[in-house]
Symmetry: C2
Subunit: 381 residues, 2 copies
């Protein structure tokens, strides 16, 4: 299914950093730029490729940090230069999305956009495209729409979307959102899972540029004022953008559009809609997630070999894993990785760092990053 | 105590290779050349330094392979160039020792030599020197002498020396040897340990050059003939040495000098003597042995950092070991090694290889080397 409505745009947010895949991900080269998918595809590259079923590359926008523009160019060489929108400084998603909406509304006052994270993996791409087409369709009718992922475990690392009930306008698959819920503790997460009315917040949003700019005017006037100024004086972006309020779009706008908010003065027409997405979503939130993206060998070892140069078919050498099982090995150098009698570890080797930990401790990587941040190890970050 | 008898020489055998410390040890740079001791000293360097208490550097001989001459020069820069004796090809210890004896007997017909492995660690150096002085003293009286180490565990990786009884000539601490015993199985090793009359074969031998050449004439005439030829025509060494019988001195000579040998036609005067050595001997036979050479941190992690260049005080970066204990980490590159929740592993990182295994499996390194030898990984050996 494709959706080549001439007013459809995709805005991919590629400015984020993160520490959960350190030492593979770095400040200057975060997760979305790493060749971590089978065949060496990057998450950003795959995101752009997938959405070509919805709109052509000419209407694909990548929003990124100044320090990552070159990575974007190399990762998406077909992207028109004018479609890279640079955040002068990271100010969270609300200013970033506001900037994208402003940019597109100038180019096409009828622009409808899908705002997508750049660093998620989608296992079932046809299902993904069907969901996005439906979400864009609702956005064209004026709705703010998000996609929620059916939880499969009591995950404490995600925000949740509490579903209120079917869209009263009767559009199939569209539901009203009662509330956006912060990351829960373990017990809450278990309750959400068993309740069946909570979905994971995927961070994907769909709306017309005009609608989101109106919502920002209502809910985040400080940003709206700034965007109005930049509409008149785009040359001031570098100087003024750093003064935008650093706040997420979820917190600034989306949670204001839930039907369950305290004031309850929201009419159903204005409420945010959610579509349930069931398309093998994976946020690649830790090294452990890589096991789902790369088939294991007969001993359940999952191996990622990055390009390293002309030898070995251009990839890092194939590891020698003797009497070893259940490991995730990610090698990004010419060094041969060997193990004897090792089970269920993450082992990753980069030019300047080696990290070894049990798969079950993969969420603790940030503790190493903290030590480096405070202990003179900045050059490794 | 020192022994500067003008006829005393030390011949250090530094030609051996080995796979038990792969990937740190390589064919071109085996264990004795690695800076694995505290402060970055090498086993060969420490061996030379220790024996300076017995004879000056001018009478210290290092026997090595042609491919390792440069490593010897760099490791022992004070060694006179003429004191590096090159084996054209490795033919085990009998030809190597024969060559050294021939070389020294030409230089000094009264030469008495200590033949020492280059790749052992000695914890108690004063005790070591006392034992060697006693062994050299007996060698000057015409004996063939060896040093046996009191077993501390039922080790199956060493040969044993069965002690017959005190030297009838009454020299204190000297014993007659009944037999040299091959590496035992587990049950035999346990029996040797409890019997109390078995010592580990240290591979250290002491004799006059004249005596060992006579023994070779008796027990290995093929080598003796070759040595006679080389005495007349030293320029033929490169061409003829490869034809020497590849056999160990233990097997060719020493075990013929035990009083318990079947034929029993050996008189006590000719029998080999053994001195018990108790000086913290460690053959550094696996990565696990390094824990004894390097003090652990409060979490019992033992860390070796090799010189890698100007940064970090010239050493590999100090590892970040979070909630990790009992590990042996040996880093030889600028890469930062980090672990989270890892216990009792050996982790070693070199320019072209990374090896990870439990300490208890440190003896299995050769299995990786086998895979590489037969699987196209020659360049890593």
């Amino acid at each position: 299914m494709s959706d080549f409505s001439p007013h459809t745009y995709v805005a991919i947010l590629a400015g984020g950093g993160g520490t959960r895949l350190w030492p593979q991900s770095r400040r200057r080269r975060p997760k979305q730029f790493l060749p971590l998918l089978p065949g060496g595809e990057t998450l950003l590259g795959a995101t752009v490729r997938r959405t070509l079923a919805l709109c052509p590359i000419e209407r694909t926008l990548v929003v990124t940090a100044a320090s990552q523009v070159e990575e974007v160019r190399q990762t998406v060489p077909d992207l028109p230069e004018g479609n890279i929108l640079v955040e002068p400084i990271g100010r969270n998603t609300a200013p970033c999305i506001g900037l994208a909406a402003l940019f597109l509304s100038r180019r096409d006052p009828q622009a409808v956009l899908a705002v997508l994270p750049s660093d998620h993996h989608i296992g079932d791409e046809p299902a993904f495209i069907r969901v996005l087409a439906a979400a864009l369709s609702a956005a064209r009718e004026g709705h703010v729409v998000t996609v929620g992922i059916r939880p499969t475990r009591p995950e404490t690392g995600y925000g949740y979307i509490q579903v209120a009930g079917p869209d009263p306008a009767g559009e199939a698959g569209l539901y009203l959102v009662k509330a956006f819920v912060e990351k829960p503790d373990r017990d809450q997460a278990a309750a959400y899972l068993s309740a069946g009315t909570y979905l994971w917040n995927s961070g994907m949003f769909f709306f017309s540029a005009a609608r989101i700019l109106r919502e920002l005017r209502t809910h985040l006037p400080a940003l709206s004022d700034l965007l109005d100024e930049l509409r008149e004086h785009p040359e001031r972006t570098a100087a003024r953008y750093p003064q935008a309020p650093a706040i997420s779009i979820d917190y600034a706008v989306m949670e204001k559009l839930g039907t369950g908010r305290a004031k309850n003065d929201l009419d159903a027409a204005a409420a945010i809609r959610v579509i349930e997405g069931d398309f093998g979503w994976n946020d690649v939130g830790s090294f452990a997630a890589l096991a789902d993206l790369h088939p294991g060998d007969p001993d359940h070892n999952h191996v990622l070999l990055d390009p390293v140069g002309p030898g070995d078919g251009g990839l890092a050498p194939k590891p020698v894993l003797l009497r070893s099982s259940g490991n995730i090995v990610w090698a990004s150098t010419g060094q041969l990785v060997s193990t004897i009698g090792i089970s269920d570890l993450v082992i990753t080797v980069t030019e300047d760092a080696v990290l070894i930990m049990p798969r079950e401790k993969a969420q603790e990587v940030r503790d190493v990053v903290d030590v480096l941040s405070h202990g003179g190890g900045e050059r490794y970050l």
